[in-house]
């Protein structure tokens, strides 16, 4: 078993998928000889050739559109968008075609495409390189949206996404790419889809989060533990659909909910989690639901990004408020 980073786990899963299934192809900008700007596709074109690891022209709409054409003719396509801030030209293709091809042809044509892209900030990147835009995709029927937070999850979920017969948006937390190593076995075993993960069990408050924010949230849970507050930390993992059952189960136990996300607050996914808990577990709540999120500002250029991304201090503060209510 190898100790790998998250980006190495992604490379391992891509390598496994290419080896296992001749229908799997990769397409994206600089993914060939260069191995992608984060090296997620390192060495794969050398191993599988330029017809299976395709360097595309610099056009995100084309990448998504071609992926649809390839997938509907029987290939399984893994497309890389270099940074999430560049996804907008591809949205027309993802929303109008990829997400609804199965529906509008009543299953005649399908789009088994995985759209991989870095998600979130914290790596001192240029403008437009640090966005958290999951809500754009979660609003569209016909898509699954995944966001792993560990190397093992990245490996297992990417295999699950590639094997799923429908389009999957696969968000890779940029600042976790090389943050930590974990033992990951290259066993070809996929994780289940549509399931949240409990990262830490607790009694007093439920902290729901995903992606890179799992790290800040787990640190907040440590700090709360020092104050004798027992926090349960849930990683949604699947942002669409949301495993509401798992969240509700936890909130019914703790009676308190804090939702943490890096994306902007307004129309953020936290609202959907909060609304569902309010609808289905109102009488189990002992305190108002708290949201700790990015601000409703432009995702700042890096000099200010650490002030934008919620830190453990803000999460602890919100949890204390819920406890003191």
């Amino acid at each position: 078993m190898a100790r790998v980073t998250l980006v190495e786990a992604i490379n391992m899963a891509l390598n496994r998928a290419l080896a296992d299934d001749p229908d799997v192809v990769l397409i994206g900008e600089d993914i060939g000889l260069n191995g992608g700007v984060f090296r997620a596709t390192q060495g794969l074109q050398q191993q599988y050739g330029d017809l299976r690891v395709i360097d595309s022209p610099l056009a995100e709409g084309l990448i998504a559109g071609m992926s649809i054409g390839m997938a509907a003719q029987g290939l399984k396509v893994v497309a890389e968008i270099q940074f999430m801030g560049f996804i907008y030209p591809a949205l027309d293709q993802v929303a109008n075609h990829m997400a609804r091809m199965r529906h509008r042809t009543r299953g005649r044509l399908t789009c088994p495409v995985v759209m991989r892209m870095p998600h979130g900030g914290g790596i001192h990147a240029p403008e437009h390189h640090s966005e958290s835009l999951e809500t754009l995709f979660c609003h569209h029927a016909g898509l699954r949206v995944l966001c792993p937070s560990t190397p093992a999850a990245a490996y297992g979920l990417l295999l699950a996404a590639i094997r799923d017969p429908d389009p999957v948006i696969f968000l890779e937390p940029t600042r976790l790419y090389r943050l930590a190593r974990q033992e990951v076995q290259d066993d070809g075993v996929a994780w289940p889809l549509d399931q949240a993960q409990v990262l830490r069990e607790g009694e007093d408050v439920t902290l729901v989060t995903w992606g890179a924010m799992t790290h800040e949230t787990l640190r907040a849970a440590e700090e709360l533990a020092r104050e004798k507050i027992s926090a349960e930390v849930i990683d949604l993992v699947s942002l669409s659909p949301i495993d509401h059952a798992r969240v509700l189960e936890s909130v019914r136990h703790t009676g308190r909910l804090v939702i943490v996300h890096e994306a902007a607050r307004h129309a953020g996914l936290g609202g959907e989690v909060a609304a569902t808990v309010a609808e289905q577990a109102l009488h189990d709540l002992l305190a108002p639901i708290e949201r700790v999120t990015g601000y409703d500002t432009v995702m700042p250029y890096f000099s200010m990004e650490r002030s934008y991304i919620p830190g453990p201090g803000r999460i602890v503060e919100a949890a204390r408020r819920a406890l003191q209510y």
Binding site: V25, L51, R52, I54, S56, P57, A59, G61, L62, A64, G65, M66, S67, I68, G69, M70, A71, A72, Q73, G74, L75, P89, D92, Q93, N96, H97, R102, H103, R104, T105, R106, G107, R108, L109, T110, A141, G142, R144, D164, P165, D166, L193, D194, P241, I242, H244, A245
Partner: protein
């Protein structure tokens, strides 16, 4: 300064406005039955189109995009393609689709507001109608890439309108097709008008065919009302693509004799004289004139054909009108292969509140 690149755009016409051959006839033109088959399909399209507009006007069909005037382009393209090639239509190229096995009932079902009309019984790998303008061009490039990856001698054919050539997706697809010499043909149906916008206001380009040149793709114009010319140009483009010679942009010059859709009123922006002139050079007249001059067609055959088309259309309309009413489950059934648990409650709500027509529940 020295010239480092030059280009020219050729225009093909084999059958002129009076139905006279103006060039060397291609091989298929020696087969009278082939020509009759193409003419029959053009007439079926024209008659079906009139019926569909009538159904819309009498409240029995939703908004419909008519094809009158463009039959030669549509049938010529269809006749040049092989069954295993893949079509990426816009939304009015019924002649190509019918040639490839899409049915009149499927077309009507779609325009009745029911996507199940795109579940073609015939060409299973052809794409459905594409409403967001230009977005089908990258799909065709992708399919062509898939054919290349799999070593298949198949081609993709993408339609686009004159207005569609202003979309970025069109240029992106052409650029890719040129970069990789992909087996794809982009057919620009230049019918003069993008709803209310004439081509002259759409672009400063001298021709639309030349839009391929900057992407490394050859461009050619053809008289889009000349079914023999369209088929010949398409056969050449497809043969080149199949042999590894790469993509072609074909600009077919035709005319939209109808409104953009049944929701449009072209008299608001288009001169009556222009329309009258276009009716004089429309494709059915010249095709019939040529067939009659070659003694391949006569009035008796014309009468028989029109009776057959009427019967076929009536049968299709009957099948369309007696199709089963879709259930509310049809909104949910094909969103995913593996339906997420979150949809179950919504499916049940929809079942309890089914509404027909324009009333909501």
């Amino acid at each position: 300064m020295k010239t480092v690149a030059q280009f020219a755009i050729a225009r093909e016409q084999l059958l002129d406005e009076q139905g006279r051959l103006t060039g060397e006839p291609p091989a298929f033109a020696a087969d009278g039955e082939q020509l009759r088959r193409m003419y029959r399909m053009m007439v079926l399209c024209r008659m079906f189109d009139a019926k569909a507009v009538n159904l819309q006007r009498t409240g029995r069909l939703g908004t419909y995009a008519p094809c009158a005037g463009q039959e030669a382009t549509h049938v010529g393209v269809g006749a040049a393609m092989r069954a295993e090639d893949a079509l990426f239509p816009v939304y009015r190229e019924y002649g190509t689709q019918l040639w490839r096995g899409v049915t009149l009932t499927e077309i009507l079902t779609y325009w009745a507001g029911d996507e199940s009309g795109t579940n073609f019984a015939g060409p299973r790998h052809d794409f459905p109608w594409c409403v967001p303008i230009g977005s089908q061009a990258p799909h065709a490039a992708g399919a062509a890439m898939a054919f290349r990856i799999r070593g298949q001698a198949r081609c993709a054919v993408a339609y686009i309108g004159d207005g569609g050539t202003s979309e970025g997706a069109f240029y992106e697809a052409i650029n890719m097709a040129g970069a990789r010499s992909l087996p794809v043909v982009f057919v620009i149906v230049n019918n003069g008008w993008a709803i209310s916008m004439p081509v002259s206001a759409q672009t400063g380009a001298q021709t639309l065919a030349q839009k391929g040149i900057a992407g490394g793709v050859a461009g050619v114009q053809v008289d889009g009302n000349d079914v023999i010319g369209v088929r010949a140009v398409m056969e050449a483009a497809l043969a080149k693509a199949r042999a590894g010679g790469g993509a072609t942009v074909v600009e077919a010059l035709t005319y939209r004799l109808s409104d953009h859709t049944t929701a449009d009123d072209a008299t608001r922006y288009r001169a009556a004289e222009e329309l009258q002139a276009a009716w004089k050079i429309e494709p059915l007249l010249r095709t019939r004139a040529y067939l009659e001059a070659q003694h391949l067609w006569d009035q008796t055959q014309e009468d028989q054909l029109r009776a057959q088309c009427t019967a076929q259309i009536d049968e299709a309309v009957h099948a369309y009108q007696s199709r089963p009413t879709p259930s509310t489950d049809s909104m949910f059934d094909h969103l995913f292969a593996n339906e997420p648990a979150t949809l179950t409650a919504q499916r049940d709500t929809a079942r309890r509140h089914p509404q027909r027509g324009s009333h909501t529940g």
